[in-house]
């Protein structure tokens, strides 16, 4: 009887849940230590109240964006540490030596690396930059659903927390970042690992889906007067396309994960062969989400580089219409190629050939984008600030990665290269250049706008060189290893293969990347300390073109003192050239007005914490707690939507006088 009650209350949670191997124990202890130190600092500085009022309960997309960036940077360090461990294992697991860690740990580490890098680094940077930049670029003060936006962030945070909790309580999935059945079914992966993976993605994924809806609505409904669709900055277009993909792709992920969890918890047979299910269904579903996901990540990267290359070439983006058409084509085609991830699972030749060709067709609009960027540089006056370095690195790597992608898209070649390190090298080339480099460029580019000071160009360039050279050393050997028939996720190999030198080079490259990351962290700290000397007083440090550069740096809470009006694609540039009025000009017919802003609320935070509780209790089969937390989340939502009276505050227009610009261009008195 007691046991039954304990079972119901605690599910599978027992004292055997703490980590057993030294590696994860150390990782977990250091994580706890870092958290405690952070909490200590906050207490010491008496900043808890500030943290709660200004950040945790905020609904300002700028602050939410900053929080996304902080989490992503921390997760880049976590995922990067995983990468170093993977490299160390493959360097040492040779011949008689089984390497520095048990295989079971190794498999958890690469699964965690992939999951964390995609969901909590790439997606986090993406949503961070989108939150910071999109409202400013379309002349809006806010997003369409500010509280939902906060909830999205806290759900993302909860998913991150669930994945990291597995370090200390239980263990993580060892079935790879996409956890194919039957390996991920209960029979082959008993215990909580795969469930941690499921619920981490499930909770974060719901947050992403809500963000997708939020930004599509924001972009479609909240543009300032004059900003027609075909006048939107290219970054906004890329986000619109990406978020449209999110809206349609993430529900597939949610359903797929739910079905897998049902298989694992209630013994259903959606994907288990034995009960009449079929693993192929899972593979199809997960890639029907997974392929769009890679374009969700990379399209905003394209958008960022479009802004960067135009600004630093001092020319309008070449072929705007082509660029929009290319994004549109990619958005649609992204749904038509998922089968290229499993040519080797026995599909017929016609199916394989059709999906191979569909995949190659996507490279046409992608190629067009590259040519348009190059044409933007043509007859420009290129200023090589650090974002341009990342752009140059991106074009080099992305072109080569694109070639290897087209090679993999030929089914006859994929038979030889699928699941090899060639594939691993290919997707890292695309993701690191198209997503990480783009996010870095975007961060550097918009940093002064958000924080009011610039970063050290000298160290930024050094960090670029570490990333670029390190990347080539870390991944060029992997292409060769792929040709040598080395499969991915391999923990051990024979010494006679002669592979070890290449793994050594790859490890050295990874170390150089790690130096790059250390430089990035260091330069950030250094630049903060010297920020008074680096103030961006003009609001326009790069000689920018689009609306956001017309704003002062850092941007005030209300973003725009008056509603801007635009007349072209590059309104600020045109205004600086004297061809158009200043978009933020205050005139008699366009005066200051009261500004309404949403009030801070802890709703989003509580929903996120509820999400964490749902995920955590489902992992441990404490169903009652999961259900309770889910109900609480819903109650909070209903409560929030039914009490709208005190949700906004007003900044009276009298307070704004002097913050906009007069007709002469200076600050109005």
């Amino acid at each position: 009887m007691h046991l039954l009650i304990a079972n119901i209350l605690l599910g599978r949670f027992s004292t055997h849940v703490l980590p057993s191997d030294p590696m994860t124990t150390i990782a977990f202890i250091s994580m706890i230590a870092i958290l405690l130190i952070a909490a200590g600092i906050v207490t010491r500085l008496k900043r808890w109240n500030w943290l709660w009022k200004e950040w945790i309960t905020t609904v300002d997309p700028k602050r939410i964006g900053v929080m996304y960036l902080i989490v992503s940077m921390l997760m880049l360090i976590r995922g990067g540490s995983d990468a170093i461990l993977i490299r160390a294992q493959q360097l040492t697991g040779v011949g008689a030596s089984s390497g520095i860690m048990p295989t079971a740990t190794f498999q958890q580490i690469f699964s965690a690396h992939g999951t964390i890098m995609i969901f909590f680094v790439a997606m986090g940077f993406l949503f961070g930059i989108v939150n910071l930049v999109v409202p400013m670029q379309i002349g809006a003060r806010d997003v369409a659903f500010p509280v939902m936006n906060a909830a999205s962030f806290w759900l993302f945070f909860a998913g991150m927390a669930i994945a990291n909790t597995s370090l200390g309580i239980g263990f993580f999935s060892a079935a790879g970042w996409l956890s194919y059945p039957p390996l991920s079914e209960l029979r082959f992966s008993p215990g909580v690992g795969v469930d941690y993976w499921i619920w981490s993605l499930q909770i974060a994924g719901i947050g992403s889906m809500l963000s997708g809806i939020n930004f599509v609505v924001t972009i479609l409904r909240m543009r300032c007067p004059g900003m027609k669709l075909m006048r939107m900055p290219m970054f906004v277009w890329s986000v619109l396309c990406s978020m449209t993909l999110v809206m349609f792709a993430f529900p597939i992920l949610t359903v797929t994960l739910a079905l897998l969890f049902l298989d694992r918890s209630l013994g259903t047979h959606f994907f288990t062969i034995g009960g009449g299910g079929n693993m192929m269904m899972y593979v199809n579903l997960i890639w029907a989400w997974g392929h769009p996901e890679v374009y969700i990540l990379v399209m905003p990267g394209f958008g960022i580089f479009s802004e960067v290359v135009a600004t630093f070439s001092r020319k309008p983006l070449f072929g705007y219409t082509s660029m929009v058409a290319a994004l549109g084509a990619i958005t649609i085609l992204a749904y038509t190629v998922w089968v290229h991830h499993f040519f080797t699972m026995g599909a017929g030749t016609d199916v394989n050939a059709v999906f191979g060709i569909a995949t190659m067709i996507i490279s046409i609009p992608t190629g067009v984008k590259i040519f348009n960027w190059l044409a933007t540089m043509y007859r420009g006056r290129i200023h090589f600030a650090s974002p341009m370095y990342f752009f140059m690195g991106f074009v080099v790597l992305f072109t080569l990665g694109g070639v290897t992608g087209v090679i993999l898209a030929v089914p006859g070649l994929d038979y030889q290269l699928h699941n090899s390190l060639f594939l691993v090298a290919h997707f890292h080339t695309m993701i690191v250049s198209g997503v990480l480099f783009a996010d870095f460029a975007g961060l550097i580019y918009w940093f002064p706008k958000i924080f009011g000071f610039t970063l050290s160009e000298k160290w930024l360039k050094r960090s670029f060189w570490c990333w670029f050279v390190g990347f080539i050393l870390a991944f060029a050997p992997l292409y060769v290893l792929g040709f040598m028939g080395v499969t991915r996720r391999m923990s051990h190999y024979a010494a006679s293969t002669g592979w070890q030198p290449l793994f050594a080079v790859a490890a050295a490259g990874t170390a150089i990347i790690a130096v790059g990351v250390a430089i990035q962290v260091g330069l950030f700290v250094g630049s903060v300390r010297t920020r008074h000397a680096r103030r961006d007083l003009t609001g326009d440090p790069w000689n920018g073109r689009t609306l956001e550069w017309a704003l002062p740096s850092p941007v005030p809470a209300y973003t725009f003192a008056i509603t801007p009006v635009v007349h072209s694609r590059d309104p600020f540039w045109e205004a600086k050239e004297g061809r158009e009025p200043d978009p933020l000009q205050v005139t008699a017919t366009h005066p200051y007005d009261d500004i309404m802003l949403p009030m801070n609320t802890p709703t989003g935070f509580f929903i996120g914490m509820g999400g964490f509780l749902v995920g955590f209790s489902m992992v441990w089969h404490m169903y009652w707690l999961g259900a309770l937390a889910a109900i609480l989340c819903i109650v909070m939502l209903v409560h929030r939507t039914s009490s709208t009276d005190d949700s906004e505050y007003v900044i009276p227009k009298e307070l704004l006088t002097g913050t906009g610009r007069s007709a002469k261009g200076g600050v109005a008195a």
């Binding site: 693993m279 001092r314 070449f318 026995g346 046409i364 067009v368 087209v406 038979y415 028939g485």
Partner: protein, 298 residues
């Protein structure tokens, strides 16, 4: 200025020395190791190799212009150089048509090649008439390979022996999670999936020993699922099969298979006689009925 030039010179020289050293070391290294995908010994792998060369050469038509323009424009139009500056140039239908068109043409060519090569390299397509075909049933277990020769009535684990110049028709399934059967020097990989049968045809052009492996993660023992593939002459193969049949003491039946299929990480090569020629189908049926070998991964 002169000082700056000096530093630049030192940099260029050291980068040149480093890259030359790198090229030399890579060359030394690469000529000392085997690169199976680029050293094909089977008919399919050879065609795949040619296809690879074709795709790489075709892609140079994009890579070279892109790199030339990227670095050319970067040099010519950088701040402080004397390149022409046209701050308002923003589009040109003619030029844009060119770069929608040229990639489209290249992809058209590659699509045609893809269509024909996908058919030519169809792993299900026999490479020789039935009279010159040896059938092998491959079953991936946790974590080893079982190869059954139904016509020869023998089976062995973790080693594949096949005749050269004959079509080897592999029928593949898994009794555990998904694995991938891959012998890079002979042909591309095909997944081994539980409850399902996939096929792969191989034709080896020369005798020798070629490494085979599992290309898909299936649990803790997956990295050790390698198996040597011995390609021997046809007569050697027949006599090997006959002697194995005589020597093999243990018959492989459902009970002994169940014993064999228990999870283990080792590399023992074991020989069996196979009295029942439908064993492979039985294994698949059992998995489909949910009666596969129950197990728990470590």
């Amino acid at each position: 200025m002169g000082h700056k030039r000096g530093i630049l010179g030192v940099r260029i020289v050291s980068i040149a020395v480093l890259s030359l050293g790198g090229v030399y070391l890579s060359y030394r290294y690469l000529s000392s190791v085997s690169i199976p995908v680029l050293e094909p010994k089977g008919r399919v792998a050879l065609e795949q190799y040619h296809l690879l060369l074709f795709a790489v050469i075709l892609s140079l038509f994009v890579v070279i212009p892109v790199f030339a323009m990227l670095f050319g424009f970067a040099l010519r139009y950088r701040e402080g150089s004397h390149g022409r500056y046209e701050p308002r140039q923003a589009s040109s239908t003619r030029v844009e048509l060119v770069w929608w068109g040229i990639p489209a043409l290249l992809i058209l060519v590659l699509s045609i090649v893809t269509w024909t090569s996908t058919n030519a390299l169809d792993p299900y397509r026999p490479l020789a008439p039935a009279s010159h075909t040896v059938t092998v049933d491959a079953v991936s277990l946790d974590w080893q390979w079982l190869f059954i020769y139904p016509a020869e009535h023998i089976a062995l684990t973790n080693r594949l022996v096949i005749p050269a110049h004959e079509n080897i028709s592999l029928h593949i399934t898994s009794d555990g999670p998904m694995n991938g059967l891959w012998i890079p020097q002979l042909a591309g990989q095909i997944m081994a999936m539980p409850g399902m049968e996939t096929q792969l045809n191989i034709l080896a052009n020369s005798n020798g020993t070629f490494e085979g492996l599992s290309s898909n993660i299936s649990g803790v023992g997956f990295s050790s699922m390698t198996f040597p593939t011995h390609v021997v002459s046809q007569s050697e193969f027949r006599s090997w099969a006959a002697s194995t049949r005589n020597r093999a003491r243990t018959p492989l039946t459902m009970p002994s298979f169940t014993e064999l299929a228990k999870p283990r990480i080792d590399h023992a090569v074991q020989y069996y006689s196979v009295p029942e020629s439908k064993l492979f189908q039985q294994i698949i049926m059992n998995v489909m009925k949910g009666e596969g070998v129950p197990r728990v991964t470590a």
